[in-house]
């Protein structure tokens, strides 16, 4: 089973390295937010001292955890898209006919996706560091397990979506109805207290968004602190999405039959 896991992780890494445009896009997107939107929003938004921050911070510093979560989110969706693509192209059959339990195959895909996400985030944090958006060294280590957990949660969500999406063309809908709402209705770009003051109805949605807790888990980890509520919600959501994925890829389910049959 470990050989199978290793094979899936190596394949994901190779595919990622072969798709240079994907790597570039994964970095350019958050960097645009950081250096262009960040500069514009800095003037418009005032940030008070809220945990985990102990002093006033620049807006760019505030959005770094959200942008890390965005990288993980987009990578999870990319991984999900590649599952749909593999299914349409036929190469997913190799994966689904491997002589190991299906839950293990899906877990291996998740782990592979999480590793790729961490790689992208490390490069992003390094670029931010070069431009003087810096955390404490311990934060860079502490954030790795947080990124890994968030990668698992969002990867599991992507896996479930890939089981539900019948055609590659339908993936555009995922961008509009999953990725953008998840990202914008979270604390990635604005603190919750600001939304509670200015748009309480949006704030009430934000607190129900699992992505919010992914962002907060990363934010606190970058300051070497553990946010127990965020950790619990991310773990529960990971298990929940993974169970849904197992259900989605169950070979006795009629819709999966229609796709492989």
């Amino acid at each position: 089973m470990m050989t199978c896991l290793k094979a899936i992780i190596i394949r994901e890494l190779l595919r990622f390295l072969h798709q240079r445009e994907r790597f570039l896009a994964a970095l350019v997107r958050p960097l645009v937010w950081l250096f262009i939107f960040g500069a514009g929003f800095r003037a418009a938004l005032g940030l008070s001292i809220i945990p985990p921050y102990e002093t006033y911070i620049r807006y760019e510093t505030y959005i770094v955890p959200g942008l890390c979560a965005m990288i993980v989110l987009f990578n999870a969706m990319q991984s999900s898209l590649s599952m749909v693509y593999d299914r349409e192209m036929g190469s997913m059959r190799l994966l689904l006919t491997a002589p190991v339990p299906r839950w293990w195959i899906l877990l291996a895909k998740l782990l592979a996706s999480a590793f790729v996400s961490i790689l992208q985030c490390v490069v992003f944090l390094a670029i931010a560091w070069v431009f003087d958006i810096r955390m404490q060294w311990g934060g860079y280590l502490a954030v790795l397990p947080a990124l890994f957990l968030v990668g698992l949660m969002l990867g599991a969500m992507g896996l479930f979506l890939s089981a539900m999406i019948t055609r590659l063309q339908n993936f555009a809908g995922v961008m509009n109805f999953v990725i953008f709402p998840m990202f914008f209705l979270s604390t990635a770009l604005y603190p919750l207290w600001q939304m509670q003051e200015n748009a309480p109805y949006i704030a009430s949605v934000v607190v129900w968004n699992p992505f919010t807790y992914a962002v907060e888990l990363i934010r606190f980890a970058l300051y070497q602190r553990l946010e127990p509520i965020a950790l619990s919600i991310v773990c529960v959501c990971t298990v929940w999405f993974f169970l849904l994925s197992l259900w989605g890829y169950d070979p006795t389910k009629p819709f999966l039959r229609a796709k492989v049959g």
């Binding site: 394949r11 593999d86 036929g90 039959r257």
Partner: protein
């Protein structure tokens, strides 16, 4: 004789459409069985059941004595060539084979990969991207991939599609030779010139076995193509 593949009283439907009902099939170890039938007869569904891609609503699927309903370990003995390419075009020839070897738990596949690439005329193409291979070479690579785990059972769904006549004949001969050496072969095809007189032939119609017997016994290519193989001109 030991049964390599057993499908027992299998029911399977895609939503409201029943494809197999109370379907049973047994393949002897080392046999070469051709599965014929018109489109939609259920050939690929049977392939997918033995490959572990589908599980039946009812009944049992056993591979080398192990039920796929409870464990997928039996799939270790099964090599598959799908009708549609299952290669990863983002990877090279060798990377595709190493990936598949890993999925099947083969720890040191280098020698086996080298041997198979030579056997299928792909030596020197290890680093080529699959994207750059022509259809015939891709097909050969598919078959090399299927043979990588030294399978006891080989499932092939129209494996010669896209091959030139010489390559096609080489593969037909190679797979028959493997069967003679004890590999159980299930060969799905519409091309009757790929079959040998002593091959076991199953003609499938609407999810049921319409006839089964030796290729010659069932009347050979002419009789089979006229009655069963979907070669009759359809009413449009």
């Amino acid at each position: 004789m030991t049964k390599a593949v057993v499908l027992e009283d299998v029911d399977l439907s895609y939503g409201p459409r029943t494809v197999l009902s109370q379907f049973s099939l047994r393949l002897d170890e080392g046999s070469f069985t051709a599965l014929l039938g018109p489109n939609g007869a259920g050939k690929s569904t049977i392939f997918n059941l033995i490959a572990g891609l589908l599980l039946p609503d009812r009944g049992d699927v056993r591979v080398m004595g192990q039920s796929l309903m409870t464990s997928r370990a039996g799939l270790r003995d099964v090599g598959m060539v799908f009708q549609q390419s299952a290669l990863d075009i983002e990877l090279s020839v060798a990377q595709n084979l190493r990936y598949f070897a890993g999925l099947h738990g083969i720890k040191k596949p280098a020698d086996r990969i080298e041997k198979l690439l030579a056997q299928f005329g792909l030596e020197g193409r290890e680093r080529s991207s699959v994207r750059d291979l022509n259809g015939g070479h891709r097909r050969r690579l598919e078959i090399a991939r299927a043979l990588l785990p030294s399978p006891k059972i080989l499932l092939l769904d129209e494996p010669t599609t896209g091959l030139d006549p010489a390559s096609k004949q080489a593969i037909v001969d190679e797979v028959h030779a493997m069967s003679a050496h004890g590999v159980t072969v299930l060969w799905i095809t519409h091309l009757l010139d790929e079959l040998w007189a002593e091959d076991d032939v199953i003609v499938l119609q609407s999810g049921q076995i319409a006839s089964r017997g030796g290729f010659a016994e069932l009347g050979g290519a002419e009789e089979l193509s006229r009655h069963y193989a979907g070669h009759e001109r359809p009413q449009l």
